[in-house]
Amino acid sequence: MIKVGWFSFTCCEGCGIIFLEILNEKLLEWKKKIEFKSFRMLSKENFEGPFDISIVEGAISSRKDIEKLKKIRANSNKLIIVGSCAITGYPAGLRNKFDEKRKKEIKPILREFGHLDRVLKIEDIVNVDGKVSGCPMQTEAFIELFERSLKEFETF
């Protein structure tokens, strides 16, 4: 079974919802060859894996996020990032563009919850092996990349 993990950082989880939409068609087929080792929305989360393919949505906005992301990278053969937040840092990182007045207003909350001064995109922290852009991620492009990746691990 190909070991897959889905991880959501700071985002609306819309890419995850698109993945669920894709599962409307693909679940019965993919279930036969995939083991979801981490998928908080449908089962349980775990960062140890190991994972053949990990998919990450969302931007990085806290120190905890950085540690989790590094763990995912270390434990994943292939890391695919999806959606605008993961790839560009926006719109999750809207606060990066706040004027001084709003930055001051939110500072106490950032301090309290260990947020970074700036919201980062995934590639600011780790290297990735594939990307699917869009807000939300483009459905067809994701299916194409994901199924291509599954094939790589099938023949292995």
Partner: protein, 419 residues
């Protein structure tokens, strides 16, 4: 008995953790820590072009994207005195129905069913359990097709504008979808029994929702179970915002009391309007009004049936014609937009000046439920105080899941740690 700390609870939307302090066999404190990192949308909308706000705020949430988009659209129209056509109103109602149908089906079949079948996840389902999931996928698919036909996309729709729609759905396509809705109806009726769970946690609760004679999610007046009716534009005045310093979300009280929004509230408060449409749910509707939070699950299942019946009703009767969105002439104003999102009453308030947002307020359904959730967690822990740790944790997760919380939304405004 030691304290309970649970992190990153699963089978729900968004990130949440939990601390429960136990002293002498009683729950001394509950902190529901929404650990979903804040994205500060309430601050981010300031200075944005008002007509862009709906698309902007749809990104608050991936699953109730349509609800945010519609509520914000109605809000901007209210602020700028924009009148929309009856066709636009009907299409919006249909869009929100499709949203609730799809979202409830996700919660019921993907998040709750594992608890009902005693399994970790849908991936472990076998035999007849798998058959139920196959039905669920069909139901979700038709809901998505309906969302897509009206909004252009399921997540972060593109056909809607302030003033109306830039692309009108085709009646032929809607008729096709109507056929599919009717084809899954039987499956939905069959699963009502499955979601009629015998789990129980009762309490005196103030239930709140938008109500109207047609169970229209996009119209009405706010009703409270104590009998109070509140005009939409007065709603925020009745609420007292409670800062939860340990949580990245705030919550609310009304007149000093915690309260509940969502399916259970909607059916408790307006059963008669619903029962016009869902004849096959008569036996299940007898349970309502219900004081049992776990009946939120059955309430959602009944609303799934309602969504099918009401959308078929609308599609049968709708006359669609090509029309442009209404003109927008004003640039100033303060307005409100209130709709019933899947998880409850969603409230938008915007202050628009010279075409740009000066300030705004967004009151999220899940945020309104957080304090009540904490009270119920305390109750469920005390009810199970003599059980094994992992059983208590499971009961807590089951309870939180019954609420169908959306933590991605609620930031606006479970690894158990036994100490």
């Amino acid at each position: 008995m030691h304290d309970i700390v649970m992190e990153n609870l699963s089978k729900m939307e968004g990130h949440v953790s939990l601390d429960v302090k136990i002293r002498k066999g009683k729950v001394a404190d509950v902190k529901l820590k929404v650990s979903e990192n804040k994205r500060f949308y309430t601050q981010a909308i300031r200075g944005e072009y008002a007509l862009n706000i709906p698309t902007f705020v749809s990104r608050i949430c991936g699953t109730c994207s349509i609800a945010h988009l519609l509520a914000a659209t109605i809000c901007v129209e209210n602020a700028l005195n924009v009148e929309v056509s009856e066709q636009t109103k009907k299409l919006r109602e249909l869009a929100e129905i499709s949203n609730i149908l799809r979202d409830h089906a996700m919660h019921l079949y993907f998040f709750c069913l594992p608890d009902i079948f005693g399994k970790e996840s849908i991936f472990e389902f076998t035999g007849h359990e798998e058959k139920v999931i196959e039905k669920a996928l069909k139901i979700r698919k038709v809901a998505s097709e309906l969302s897509k036909e009206i909004m252009g996309r399921v997540v972060h729709g593109i056909n809607s504008r302030v003033g109306g729609f830039i692309k009108i759905p085709s009646k032929e396509r809607l008729k096709e979808i109507e056929e599919k809705l009717l084809s899954v109806r039987e499956d939905v009726v069959e699963t009502l029994d499955l979601f009629s769970v015998d789990w129980n946690l009762e309490s005196n609760t103030n239930y709140i929702s938008l109500v109207n004679e047609d169970f229209d999610f996009t119209e009405g007046i706010i009703k409270c179970s104590d009998g109070t009716y509140i005009q939409k534009d007065e709603f925020a005045n009745y609420l007292h915002r409670i800062i939860l310093p340990y949580s990245q979300a705030t919550s609310f009280k009304m007149m000093g009391r915690t309260y509940l929004v969502g399916s259970l509230a909607r059916i408790n408060l307006n059963k008669s309007a619903l029962s016009k449409y869902t004849k096959d749910a008569k036996k299940y509707l007898k349970k309502f009004p219900s004081r049992n939070i776990f009946d939120n699950i059955l309430a959602q299942a009944i609303e799934v049936l309602f969504c099918i019946d009401k959308s078929v009703n609308i599609i049968s009767n709708i006359e669609l014609k090509k029309e442009e969105p209404a003109q927008i002439l004003r640039k100033e104003g303060i307005g409100i937009g209130v709709i019933e999102a899947p998880r409850g009453t969603l409230y938008y308030e915007l202050n628009i000046s010279n075409g740009y947002v000066k300030d705004g307020l967004i009151i999220i359904p899940t945020a309104q439920n957080l304090l009540k959730m904490e009270q119920d967690i305390a109750a469920i822990v005390e009810k199970n105080i003599n059980e094994e740790r992992h059983k208590i944790e499971h009961e807590i997760e089951k309870l939180i899941r019954a609420y169908d919380p959306c933590f991605s939304c609620s930031t606006h405004f479970l690894k158990v740690n036994w100490i």
